[in-house]
Structures are given as structure tokens and as C-alpha cells.
């Protein structure tokens, strides 16, 4: 069996002061202190080379969960471990966290405005990751960019254009190229295809699958779109009100959901 690569234990994110009763709350609003429990005691393991889907409706905490793992948000409680590293990565200092973000992880956000700097060129956005890794030869950087642009099926002649002049699908590809620049072991995809038209979405999904197979990268895929989850994910976690209410193989969750909420969700599928 494959090894785990990332393990998360009891991850909790509370917005507000919080109180001892927050974690017992059924909903993501604590009835005692009115704090918002965006993520409530989530534990999971990501295995090497797999695509782990996280599904749930808006506000279920799925984005907060992956953004915590990418250190965009600092969790209130909880631990996360990378295989081979004994310390809880949430206790890393900011320099160590930045290093993990640059070398071990990649992120693709739903909104390219979050993932890309629109003041710099498409190539510059990707080059930033290489420059962080101390690449200091301009021609080597350009060669690596060509490689990454080809891998993510981006037209080379748009490399020096600004992201705002590129289509939505291309912007997501730049995010993917950027995320892959330093060959990370873990890729977080936060609704990567939402808001794109269907033909663009299909090609992007194919690209993600291809990359996962070629690079043997482990992926956590957040999506509210069951179709996307079905096509890409091996396993799925279902989130609601900040908690994982059910997990299983993708086809099992979609064909034999156990939790009432998941049954509702699956039955609402078009």
C-alpha cells in the first residue's frame, strides 16, 4: 500500500474568541459564544500519488481547511505532519513555513487574483518560484518556463504577457505552472475549474489528471462540483458545518452515501 505523505489531526479554525463549548457545537456557529467554527476537529491523511477530493457546499469549511494547510490561514488548534518530519508543521517558524510552501507544496486558487500577481507577466509569476529557489541564470529560468508552459499546455508566445490579457483557463494554467515550478510533492487545488466554461473545464481536468499521473504528485482537490470530484478523485471527504461527516471511495460516496446530508447532496446532482 502507498505511504501517507500528509497527516492532519484535529485541525480547527475558530473565528472569534472561542469558548470551551465551540468544538461541541453542531453547527459552525457556537451557540454559547457566537464564534464561527470554520473548521472543526478535522483529521485526514493524504497518501502519496492519490487525488483526495473534499466536497461540500459553500461555507462548509473546505477552503479554510486547504488554506490552513498551505499556511494562508493559521489554525486555532490542531496538528499536521509531513512524512519524514517529526514536528507539527503548524509550529514551524515563518521561514520554515515559507520553505514548505515553496518547495513541498503548490496551490491553485479558484480566483487567479489570489494566486497570481497581475502586475507582473505570466512568465514572471512562474519565475518567482524559481527565483525563490535561487535560480540565478536568466537563460536557465527561461528554459524551465518553456518546459512548464509546455507541460501545462500554455502558448509560449503569451509568456511575456500580463495575466489580465489572458483567458480564464490560461490564468488557471499559469497558476498550475507556478505551483509545479519547484516539483512539489503536494498540490492543493481549491475549486480550480469553477467559473470556467465547460470546454475549458474539461481540458483543465484532463491536464490535472495527466500531471498527477506523470509527476506522481499527491493532490487535495476542493470542489463543490460532484462531476469534477467523480472524474478526478480516488477518495472523497464530505464536509459540512466545518466537520468531515463522511469519507470513502469516490464511487462509494456517490453511489452509496451513508450520511443524510451526503444523500441529499448526491440526489441533488444533475
Amino acid at each position: 500500500m502507498r505511504d501517507w505523505i500528509l497527516k492532519v489531526e484535529n485541525l480547527t479554525k475558530i473565528y472569534g474568541d472561542g469558548c470551551p463549548n465551540c468544538l461541541k457545537s453542531e453547527t459552525n456557529k457556537c451557540p454559547f459564544c457566537r464564534a464561527t467554527i470554520a473548521v472543526n476537529s478535522v483529521s485526514l491523511a493524504l497518501y502519496s500519488g492519490e487525488i483526495l477530493g473534499i466536497m461540500g457546499e459553500s461555507g462548509s469549511g473546505k477552503s479554510t481547511l486547504v488554506r490552513s494547510l498551505y499556511f494562508d490561514i493559521s489554525p486555532t488548534l490542531g496538528e499536521a505532519y509531513l512524512n519524514g518530519e517529526e514536528r507539527n508543521i503548524f509550529n514551524f517558524n515563518s521561514q520554515e513555513k515559507r520553505k514548505l510552501r515553496n518547495f513541498n507544496m503548490g496551490m491553485v486558487y479558484q480566483s487567479p487574483y489570489r494566486g497570481l500577481n497581475f502586475e507582473i507577466t505570466a512568465g514572471g509569476n512562474v519565475a518567482e518560484k524559481l527565483l525563490m529557489a535561487n535560480w540565478r541564470s536568466y537563460s536557465n529560468i527561461r528554459r524551465r518556463l518553456i518546459d512548464l508552459f509546455e507541460k501545462t499546455e500554455l502558448p509560449l508566445n503569451r509568456m511575456d504577457d500580463f495575466p489580465a490579457t489572458l483567458s480564464g483557463g490560461m490564468q488557471q494554467r499559469i497558476q498550475i505552472a507556478k505551483a509545479l515550478a519547484n516539483n512539489p510533492e503536494i498540490l492543493f487545488l481549491d475549486e480550480p475549474t469553477s467559473g470556467l466554461d465547460l470546454s475549458v473545464q474539461a481540458r483543465l481536468l484532463d491536464l490535472i489528471k495527466k500531471i498527477q499521473q506523470e509527476l506522481k504528485i499527491s493532490i487535495i482537490l476542493v470542489s463543490h462540483d460532484l462531476g469534477v470530484i467523480r472524474l478526478l478523485a480516488d477518495r472523497v471527504l464530505v464536509m459540512r458545518e466545518g466537520r468531515i461527516i463522511e469519507s470513502g471511495l469516490t464511487d462509494q460516496i456517490l453511489e452509496d452515501p451513508q450520511h443524510p446530508y451526503t444523500q441529499l447532496l448526491v440526489n441533488s446532482m444533475l
Binding site: 500500500m1 502507498r2 484532463d206 489528471k209 462509494q252 453511489e255 452509496d256 443524510p260 441529499l264
Partner: protein
């Protein structure tokens, strides 16, 4: 024990439909049987008798409610498919257990050759080898070469189903689960698919299969398990096949 590949004991599947106020539907119950290595076990029964549910429980598309499904891999420890980790099932699906259903899901706009090739790459076959084997299998299932680069979503129902079958048959599984694989095929393609399945059986692959047509089933089943209203009515040796 060496000659047994699967041992199913007291297996039941019940659906709890929360949307219908917690209504419980029993798909099948107390199913116990063994599958010998290299054996072809046919499942027959009326529609609604629980045939598909049984196969889906073995493949873990359905979670079994009670009982166990012990799988004995050629190399390695026995494993209860009803209770083991999802990760273990994924691993077995990639390497050991194949499944063909009547339905076919694929990423839109991925060519049919690529779909079949990817299955092999996932098993660890190198790209060139995977491509060669995938082409072979598609050709044997009468998918003409001009369709290799086309998307299955544009295919006819029969062609699509043959791609689906190619995807399952191309990897050398130890255990193959078939859920009416030929249901949507015309006579010619059905004959070809059955021929391929027969070849696999001759290679010693163990199969549990549901077939639309009892005559078809009797052509190669070693034994036939008959389900009636969710219970095993009988398991008998199929004398026609020898």
C-alpha cells in the same frame, strides 16, 4: 486455502434512505459463498434480486452492512474487502481487481486510446508498453484505429461500452467483476467481448459475472449462484460448460 480467492460470509446490504424518513431497503442478506481461483461464478436472478448490489459490495462501491468478504491475493495477506481501508481498496483496484459496469464515466475530451493507456500507466506499465497493449486491446474489441484519437462521448453506445470493457480487460487483474458488460452491445460485438472474457478465464483469472442473458452465462460459468429476493436460493455446477 491456496485454491480459494474469495470467501464471502454472511454478507448483507441494507440501504438506509434518510430522504425517505429513514426507510430501510434490503438489497440482499446472509450471502455466503466461495470463489475458487480461476473459477467463473455466474450470478443469476430476476431484476431487483440483488445481483448488482452483491458485485458492488465486493468492489466496495457499496458499503456492506454486515458480514465479510475475504480476498486471498496470490501474494500477500488475506484482506476483508468489506472493512479494509479505502487506500487498500484503491491499491487493489489498481493492481488486482477489475470491474466492468454498464455505465462508463470518463473525463470529457480525453481520447479513447488515452483512457485505456492511462489505466495501464496507473498500474506501473511504462508509457510505450501501455500504449502498445492499449492499442491491441482496442483493436481486438473492434474499435477501429481511426477512433483512437476521438472522444468516447461522441461514440455510439456500443462503441463506448467496448472502450469501457477494454479499459477493464487490458490490465491483468486477478479478479474480474462483471456487471452486465454486454447489455448494450449488438450481437457481433457481444460475441467478441465474450470471446475476450473467455480468453481471460483460460489464463486463470477468477471472474464473478452477471449477464443479461442466461444462455450467455451458461456458456462459460463454472458454477451459477441464483439470487431470489436478496437471498441465495442455490449455487449449482453448470454442466453445460466443461
Amino acid at each position: 486455502m491456496q485454491d480459494i480467492i474469495l470467501k464471502v460470509r454472511n454478507l448483507s446490504k441494507k440501504f438506509n434512505l434518510h430522504l425517505l424518513g429513514g426507510k430501510v431497503i434490503t438489497a440482499f442478506q446472509n450471502a455466503s459463498f466461495v470463489l475458487k481461483r480461476g473459477e467463473f461464478l455466474g450470478i443469476s436472478g430476476k431484476s431487483g434480486s440483488g445481483k448488482s448490489s452483491l458485485i458492488k459490495c465486493i468492489y466496495r462501491t457499496y458499503l456492506s452492512t454486515e458480514g465479510e468478504i475475504v480476498y486471498y491475493p496470490k501474494n500477500g495477506m488475506p484482506i476483508d474487502l468489506a472493512r479494509c481501508l479505502d487506500e487498500e481498496i484503491i491499491d487493489l483496484r489498481h493492481r488486482k481487481i477489475g470491474y466492468v459496469s454498464q455505465f462508463f464515466y470518463a473525463i470529457p475530451r480525453v481520447s479513447c486510446l488515452k483512457i485505456v493507456t492511462q489505466t495501464l500507466i496507473q498500474q506501473g506499465v511504462d508509457e510505450d508498453g501501455a500504449k502498445r497493449r492499449a492499442k491491441n486491446m482496442l483493436l481486438r474489441l473492434l474499435i477501429p484505429e481511426r477512433l483512437f484519437d476521438a472522444y468516447p462521448s461522441t461514440f455510439s453506445g456500443g462503441e463506448r461500452q467496448r472502450v469501457n470493457i477494454a479499459q477493464a480487460l487490458v490490465k491483468k487483474a486477478e479478479l474480474l467483476l462483471l456487471d452486465e458488460p454486454t447489455a448494450s452491445l449488438d450481437k457481433t460485438s457481444r460475441a467478441i467481448v465474450l470471446d475476450e472474457i473467455l480468453k481471460l478465464k483460460k489464463k486463470g483469472i477468477s471472474v464473478i459475472g452477471i449477464f443479461h442473458d442466461d444462455e450467455e452465462l451458461k456458456r462459460f460459468a463454472d458454477r451459477i449462484l441464483v439470487l431470489e429476493e436478496g437471498k441465495i436460493k442455490e449455487i449449482y455446477k453448470n454442466d453445460k460448460n466443461s
